[in-house]
């Protein structure tokens, strides 16, 4: 019984939240890694692309709700996703036309493009706040729980409750689906193959007749699709606030770099690694330890390695350790 209680507490406070958070990070990191692999720069505007895209999704969600449209147990936001992705892709493609293309033609060094992307980030940041505001917005509707903590306690008779939010399940399912689609696209389709060729060797790809502008455009569309999906899932699971997406940039980049920039598989592994480290290191293990260990060994203190205030520091620390010992990341991406 005690072991079961420990397991449930662990699932409730560590495994489920970290898995959902990891899936959100992985989707964000995939976008970053894709742009790095193909366009060869770190896109600092990615966090704010997520915010802008989620903003579009929220606006469409509100419009749909006002029409009385809903998806039953699923959040209406899923219905709004395609509109959000289309709008965001349009904005991003226009940005590419107006800003990035100029520097690409100049064959500007990656570091210049990074600074350019920071400029784009500030503009998007402002536009998002201007359009949707700085306040916290909750736009989740439909069923809230798959497993409700109190009902779980009652039906199993355990001391610990297990909560599995619908948004967490949706996040994990959506992430699996999107990642499968992305890998299929990159490995099996002609466009996907041409993107990989362009990423591996730009000159050879150009010689074999691949249209670079098309590859760039498709990359931006996929990246904005990933960003909007990641942002919407994060907003559904937690809440939408423009500033939080800006802050999300750090763990997203940490995930991409830890996994190996340019490696899609690495981005996913990195996302989960960062999420589990953040949650695991700041969790107070007292409860689990009390259940598992014999009474004499049970800890008096909280058995918490780091205060929860240091969540972001965990991403930083992991990033530094990886850059010191394995600069190309866990999955042999490009070195930064």
């Amino acid at each position: 019984m005690d072991l079961l209680n420990a397991l449930v507490a662990l699932l409730n406070f560590v495994v489920i939240p970290a898995t959902a958070y990891g899936a959100q990070l992985a989707l964000g990191a995939l976008g970053v890694t894709l742009i790095y692999g193909i366009l060869r720069f770190s896109n600092f505007a990615h966090g704010d692309t997520m915010a802008l895209g989620t903003g579009f999704v929220i606006l469409v969600t509100w419009w749909l709700q006002s029409l009385g449209v809903s998806l039953g147990p699923l959040p209406t936001a899923f219905l709004a996703l395609p509109f959000g992705i289309a709008a965001t892709a349009a904005v991003v493609l226009l940005t590419d036309r107006g800003v990035y293309r100029f520097y690409r033609r100049q064959k500007a060094a990656p570091v210049i493009l990074v600074i350019v992307s920071m400029g784009v980030m500030f503009v998007m940041n402002g536009v998002t706040r201007f359009v949707i505001g700085v306040e916290e917005i909750r736009f989740a509707d439909g069923a809230r729980f798959l497993i409700n903590a109190n009902e779980f306690k009652k039906s199993t008779g355990l001391a610990e409750g297990l909560a599995f939010k619908a948004s967490q399940a949706q996040t994990i399912a959506a992430a699996v689906l999107v990642v499968a689609l992305l890998f299929w696209f990159l490995n099996k389709t002609r466009t996907g193959k041409s993107m990989r060729a362009y990423s591996d060797n730009e000159d050879l790809a150009l010689l074999s007749g691949i249209n670079p502008e098309r590859v760039v455009a498709v990359t931006w569309i996929i990246a904005s699709g990933l960003a909007v999906i990641a942002g919407t899932l994060y907003g559904l699971d937690k809440s939408f606030k423009a500033f939080n997406y800006f802050q999300l940039l750090l763990p997203v980049f940490a995930s991409a770099i830890v996994g190996g920039l340019g490696s899609p598989l690495g981005a996913i592994a990195g996302g989960f690694l960062i999420a589990f480290s953040e949650v695991g290191l700041t969790y107070a293990w007292k409860k689990v330890a009390t259940y598992v260990l014999p009474e004499a060994l049970a800890p008096d203190g909280l058995a918490q390695l780091l205060s929860t205030d240091y969540k972001f520091a965990v991403s930083f620390a992991l990033l530094i350790v990886v850059l010191l010992f394995k600069p190309t990341g866990l999955f042999k991406g490009k070195s930064v």
């Binding site: 507490a9 409730n12 406070f13 560590v14 939240p17 916290e136 729980f145 409700n148 903590a149 109190n150 779980f152 306690k153 409750g161 297990l162 909560a163 939010k165 994060y234 699971d237 937690k238 809440s239 939408f240 606030k241 500033f243 939080n244 953040e278 949650v279 700041t282 969790y283 107070a284 293990w285 007292k286 409860k287 689990v288 909280l302 058995a303 918490q304 205060s307 929860t308 205030d309 969540k311």
Partner: protein, 394 residues
């Protein structure tokens, strides 16, 4: 010549002692800065009392009282000190109603009020630190110390047989101070605090914070935060994960938004918020509306009371000087004596002139304890069927 001099001196003494004068009271509040939204009503509250007294013509043989405003800025101790210095040395105010925020209040007290021997009555400084400040008996407040709220909360918990609590507080002076005072009071009452951890406002997700709180355990979670900020996020995460089902909500967590956000999920949770069922509060609200300001704004009633106490103490002392009135503030504020409500200042002044004792109740049920701070009247409420229901007053 000698006679003339003596006569002049006698006349001068007479006017000094009994003649009508124009008394000036300083009103030092943060008219700019973080509290600028509530200070206009506070200032208006204090000036309403002054007008009432001036119009009655009963204070010290028909003296009038005028207000001189100063800006405390709430956060800048140097600016607040300079403003108070100007009021005391240039405008020659007899006493000060203010300041508002605890930090600047302490600065003005130490740098201006004590050196010049000027009485200060603050309506809104709640820091426990001011209780033990070096004040030579010159400082009073009509707002309760946060330490007092800690004691009230400990009592409420005890009455509900909750012996062990976890505390989550917003990471600033208010949250930390309140959490410390709750912890001290709960432990003094024989209860235990399993964890007292901070949360940052404005985050998207508090499941990690709640994870630590849940691991420490406790019968209830005390959320010393803000209702529009992280406090509500902590409650959301705690409810979602089933970590806690009973919450104790101090004053910063009081708000109708809780009903909208959580509804009956909070049933069984309870809280305290400054408030009184005294008739004075309602009277003051009407008077404020008639005077054209919002009397329900935070600390407006306390401001009226602070100004009223200064003037009643002057009458009791028979002098408008701070040195004389300081000793009388506690007498007029507390029993025994005839109860005086808002709008009855003239009656209070008459009684005092006749040598009768009064017990000033005012808008906020003033009762000064310890070194001259409000005992604090708190309303205890509880969630029933998703609605905030008043349980009683403490």
């Amino acid at each position: 010549m000698k006679k003339l001099l003596a006569a002049t001196a006698a006349v001068a003494l007479m006017t000094g002692a009994a003649g009508a004068e124009d008394i000036k009271l300083g009103v030092i509040l943060g008219f700019t800065g973080p509290l600028e939204s509530i200070t206009p009503s506070m200032g208006a509250g204090a000036e309403l009392a002054m007008k009432e007294v001036s119009d009655s013509g009963k204070l010290l043989d028909g003296s009038t009282v005028t207000s001189v405003r100063g800006d405390s800025t709430c956060v800048d101790a140097a600016a607040a000190t300079a403003a108070a210095e100007r009021l005391v040395t240039t405008d020659k105010v007899n006493a000060i109603m203010g300041a508002d925020c605890s930090g600047v209040t302490g600065a003005i007290l130490a740098n201006v009020a004590v050196p010049n021997g000027i009485v200060m009555i603050s309506a809104s400084a709640t820091s426990p630190g001011l209780t033990s400040a070096e004040d030579n008996g010159l400082f009073f407040r009509t707002a309760p110390s946060d330490a007092r709220q800690g004691e009230i909360i400990a009592k409420v918990l005890q009455d509900r047989s909750i012996s062990s609590v976890a505390i989550s507080y917003t990471n600033n002076d208010y949250g930390k101070g309140l959490a410390d005072s709750i912890q001290a009071a709960v432990e003094a009452a024989g209860g235990s605090v399993s964890i007292s951890a901070a949360h940052e406002d404005g985050k998207a997700d508090y499941s990690a914070e709640v994870g630590a709180l849940a691991s420490a355990g406790g019968d209830a979670l005390v959320v010393a935060g803000y209702v529009d900020q992280g406090g509500a996020g902590v409650i959301r995460a705690a409810l979602d994960t089933g970590a806690f089902s009973t919450f104790m909500l101090p004053d910063g967590m009081y708000g109708n938004v809780l009903e909208e956000k959580f509804g009956s999920e909070l049933d069984g949770s309870f809280g305290t918020v400054p408030g009184t069922d005294s008739a004075g509060g309602a009277t003051f609200l009407e008077m404020a509306t008639a005077a054209g300001f919002d009397g329900s704004s935070s600390y407006a009633g306390e401001s009226y009371d602070a100004a009223a106490l200064i003037m009643l103490a002057m009458q009791a002392a028979g002098s408008s000087k701070s040195a004389d009135l300081a000793a009388k503030v506690m007498d007029v504020a507390n029993a025994p004596g005839e109860k005086i409500y808002p709008g009855e200042l003239a009656k209070g002044l008459e009684l005092l002139a006749a040598g009768t004792d009064i017990d000033y109740v005012g808008a906020s049920a003033v009762e000064l304890i310890g070194p001259g701070e409000a005992s604090g009247a708190y309303r205890e409420y509880e969630f029933k069927d998703g609605k905030i229901t008043t349980v009683g007053y403490r």
